[in-house]
Subunit: 190 residues, 2 copies
């Protein structure tokens, strides 16, 4: 989102895998012990949906254009947190960052992710983006974890409309792959 | 929320367990195939967070009083969807509505729910409600599944501040137990 808005920003490395998000200093920033945290001029924000809403307002980009559209954007951001990224984030974590491999829990998460992806596929088959023909923060929320199929083990060929939608997002000015924007990420470290 | 706002409303039975939410007729109402759906005078809304936001605005109750408070409310509703109800809803479903009993997946969900409840416990130990001394829709979002401990198997004694906060919510005018508001619920049927 920051890149797509041509914001003046820089990433700050958080040593998640050595427990930094559970230190007192980090919990002071975010009592939920999660990343990301946005530190802007006058405000510190957490929860990606709140950050996206703030940035859409601040940059007047990727915003909803009416009250019904705003509700639709929020609706898909909630769906993302609950069902899509809500399943794929722990799936990626277990597969990529633990030694457990596939097991009963990843099978459960795969099934939940597949159900959510099918709903998303139906949606983005109907219009270029989630809420009509222009991208909003709903698209940006939903797409994040879908650029790591090799880490989640999800076969994106099962979701052709999602694949085409991701290509439309990648074509937006300023887009870069998430890992390009996160120096010090686990795959970089080896 | 409808009861707490003294709204003129009635529940409509949805035959979830016989697949009604996946019928074409229901998907026309909600393409995410989920409950709840609110059918109001001029608008049909889904996703509980969107519904709560609409009702807070319509009834001018349980609303945030400023932009920072509004962000804080949204932040906790997102946390709820992602981490708290996001774990407890499937945990309840698996334990209560399937024959699987406790297994590796419910153990995973118990651990996620416990982490989220610990964060909530820390929060509501600091003030009467999530965002200060007055209840908002953040409280209403977060509390929903916590009134079914016998179905989720969560020992609420582990979360004394949450227990005290739930008592404050139960003391609000108009509060009724979720099952009292849902005729035809599974436990009633047998």
């Amino acid at each position: 989102m920051l890149n797509l808005c041509s914001a003046d920003w820089q990433p700050v490395f958080v040593d998640f895998f050595n427990g930094e998000t559970r230190t007192d200093a980090y919990l002071e920033l975010n009592d939920m012990g999660e990343v990301p945290t946005l530190e802007a001029k006058n405000v510190t924000l957490t929860q990606s949906g709140v950050i996206l809403d703030y940035l859409a307002d601040a940059f007047e980009q990727f915003d909803a254009n009416s009250v019904p559209e705003h509700r639709e954007v929020l609706r898909w951001i909630l769906f993302d947190n609950n069902k899509l990224t809500g399943s794929i984030a722990p799936l990626r974590f277990m597969r990529e960052f633990t030694d457990q491999g596939e097991n009963e829990v990843t099978a459960f998460l795969h099934a939940r992710a597949a159900a959510a992806l099918k709903i998303l596929d139906t949606r983005v088959a109907k219009s270029d983006f989630i809420v009509g023909e222009e991208p909003t923060i709903a698209d940006i929320s939903l797409c994040g974890y879908l650029f790591w199929p090799e880490e989640t083990g999800i076969d994106m060929n099962d979701y052709p409309a999602v694949t085409a939608w991701l290509e439309r997002i990648q074509a937006l000015s300023g887009w870069e792959h998430p890992y390009e924007l996160m120096p010090g990420h686990p795959r970089e470290n080896g």
